[in-house]
């Protein structure tokens, strides 16, 4: 069985194609299907998003005994340099078995650009200190250096990253293998997170707040609605994904959320909700233009209804 990876494995456009190829994997849990190949021969472009999704698929298949000794087939030089560039080499060690494929289409060079790359960062709920350390030691210096004159852009990015991480911890609490990657240049930043945890749809469905007959599309839409949380009366406010969605509309960015057979997309304010191949867990893709940043506070300020009733000492 060949699982074909997309030619341009770079952004939200390729994810539905990827998911329709990959969904069979989730039906093969424990089956140890032999002769499975991750067919990367068509890949011509690979971003941190592509590297993350390919890695998470291999990781899931191995930890859930989906396949027996799966192989990766493709241009080894290209893939190896991509793994190195995006920081996946250490994760893939032991997973990737060298092949003697004759399907190489010549030497395909993985191009390095002026982009910055933030290597995969684990978002384990059990490692709060580690995540804090990552934000302080990996993200802060890179972003401060890259956007040295764009203080508001850095605040916007961290505002969104903070909400994404909080959301992943809310929904991926049975998965300790969530990963976040990022890359960008002076004009934009792209952030992708993926896990194989419970997933937004299952979390919402199991919250007991919705009819069992509720469609997955309805539940995903609810998860993006302001004030809706699967954990009411906790510190969670149900604002995280909504805030990101608002910022994306205002900055003309892109925000895509994929979970368990459905996805939501916001492309510069144009929204869509569609079915797609099943992915156990959640994938979040965020593209933020750096021009004209919008801060979390600009989005939530209009939500303040009791400004005059709450006296605070900001002395």
């Amino acid at each position: 069985m060949n699982i074909k990876l997309p030619r341009n494995f770079v952004n939200y456009n390729c994810i539905p194609e990827f998911l329709s190829e990959m969904e069979i994997m989730f039906k093969l849990k424990g089956k140890l299907k032999p002769d499975v190949v991750f067919d990367c021969t068509k890949i011509r472009k690979l971003s941190s998003l592509g590297a993350l999704l390919l890695y998470k698929s291999m990781d899931y298949s191995i930890h859930n005994n989906c396949f027996t000794n799966p192989e990766i087939n493709g241009n080894e030089l290209f893939l190896e340099s991509a793994w190195n560039h995006y920081g996946f080499s250490k994760y893939l060690k032991g997973y990737v078995k060298p092949t003697n494929s004759s399907d190489f289409n010549g030497y395909l060079k993985f191009e390095l650009t002026d982009k910055f790359v933030i290597a995969p960062q684990p978002l384990s709920r059990k490692e709060h200190n580690q995540v804090n350390k990552i934000l302080q030691t990996k993200f802060t210096p890179i972003l401060n250096e890259f956007y040295s004159n764009e203080e508001e852009a850095v605040r916007m990015i961290f505002g969104c990253v903070s909400e994404i991480i909080g959301n992943f911890w809310e929904h991926a609490n049975d998965d300790t293998r969530s990963l976040l990657v990022a890359e960008g240049n002076r004009k934009y930043i792209e952030i992708t997170c993926a896990d194989n945890g419970k997933g937004i749809i299952s979390t919402m469905r199991n919250s007991g707040k919705y009819k069992s007959s509720s469609s997955s599309e309805y539940l995903l839409r609810k998860a993006l609605t302001k004030g809706v949380t699967s954990k009411p009366f906790s510190s969670h406010m149900g604002y995280g994904l909504w805030i990101i969605d608002q910022i994306v509309s205002l900055t003309k960015g892109k925000f895509f959320v994929y979970s368990e057979g459905v996805y939501y997309g916001n492309n510069a304010g144009k929204e869509l909700m569609k079915k797609c191949g099943f992915w156990k867990g959640t994938i979040i893709y965020l593209f933020l233009p750096i021009d004209n940043p919008v801060l979390v506070s600009q989005v939530v300020e209009k939500e303040l209804l009791r400004k005059n009733d709450i006296l605070l000492n900001f002395g």
């Binding site: 995540v131 990253v161 979390v296 709450i310």
Partner: protein, 100 residues
């Protein structure tokens, strides 16, 4: 007066464990009868749920007047001020629902 410098916990306050540590440290100082200054210097961002966890819960527990008298927040950007207010408002909304 005791000063809690948030920078000590991180420039980005984005997880509930960190929020819990800050809440505990503020609560501990308050329990000694001290007023507390919370210094936001160099804090880049705070997740909205952390604001609710820290300032929302303190506001409910202390009551508005005691919160005002005992907790002084300094060097908070306009961004941070709004996020603190949102956390408090949402904690108040939760409390109203629970009471009713």
């Amino acid at each position: 007066m005791e000063t809690i410098t948030l920078e000590k916990y991180g420039h980005i306050i984005s997880d509930s464990s960190l929020g819990g540590s800050i809440l505990n440290d503020i609560s501990s100082a308050l329990s000694k009868g001290k007023a507390v200054t919370v210094d936001f210097q160099n804090v880049i961002s705070m997740a909205t749920f952390c604001s609710k966890q820290i300032f929302g819960s303190l506001y409910i527990r202390l009551t508005p007047q005691v919160f005002f008298d005992k907790i002084r927040m300094v060097n908070a950007s306009s961004d941070m001020k709004i996020i603190v207010r949102l956390g408090i408002e949402k904690a108040l909304s939760d409390q109203e629902v629970l009471v009713s």
